[in-house]
Symmetry: C2
Subunit: 162 residues, 2 copies
């Protein structure tokens, strides 16, 4: 297995992962009916770089890295991670998050921020905390969960410089 | 004086206000050398609506309103306000912020969020607090101030429903 930069042509293999996660509406701030074309722009074109987690020629996970704010905020990056439902619980998110911090430092970023972590996504909150991210904000009822209703979202943040 | 929706053609009058504020680099997450073309996209094209504060045919202030996050976050809007240096201290920011909350409700938003308020921008923090915004997050050293260095930025938030 390896984590490597994705090519735009590989989006066909990324799309099923994106579609499933967006359609569930439980974790990401993407419309549940996001089209493949929109997803391509969101995941491949807008970010600075996009990576895939590959095993035996199959793409099981993916993440993007981008600048979170321009100008006076451009030393902070933002990432999003997605793991195929068939590959959950095997440490892919941890591997990709650690990889992304390495890439973030390499690209010159000083910190990484997650803007919108659903408070109901307890696994993610626990994982990011374990990987050194502090919960620096709590947005009241900012996330509309399909079954839980309006729930809080967290802002999580980690200084990358060592 | 009145606050009304801006036309795209009026950006020529908005641009000097934008340029001055972006070039100072003290308050907004825009590159200090943002071009007029980029500013047009940021201020007029990307937002859902853009308004101007007009007095005697002159544009003295402006604000935009847009959806802050897609999908499960699309009930929260985001606004940005700019006041010409010649018109500061006269309550324009207050008037525009109150106007924007009214518009936000009209457009169906349930809350308003400011993502990136420089902690050094004490006047703004005080004003938004007075207008009912809670400081719900503090991003450590996320704002690179031209003279103060890396300073914290606040996330501020207000539920709009009454």
């Amino acid at each position: 297995m390896k984590i490597r930069e994705a090519t735009r042509e590989e989006f066909d293999q990324i799309w099923p992962i994106f579609r499933e996660i967006a359609a569930a509406g439980e974790t990401y701030a993407y419309a549940r009916d996001t089209t493949k074309e929109q997803a391509l722009e969101i995941w491949m074109d807008t970010p600075r770089k996009t990576y895939v987690f590959e095993e035996d020629g199959e793409i099981l996970g993916t993440y993007y890295i981008k600048t979170n704010q321009s100008g006076p905020g451009d030393h902070v990056c933002n990432c999003g991670y997605m793991v195929s439902s068939s590959a959950r619980g095997r440490g892919l998110a941890t591997a990709m998050c650690e990889h992304s911090q390495h890439i973030g430092r390499e690209l010159g970023y000083k910190a990484m921020q997650f803007n919108f972590v659903a408070s109901t996504n307890e696994g993610a909150v626990r994982l990011w905390s374990k990987l050194g991210f502090a919960t620096v904000g709590r947005l009241p009822k900012a996330f509309h969960h399909p079954s839980e209703g309006y729930v809080d979202a967290f802002v999580m943040y980690k200084w990358l410089e060592t």
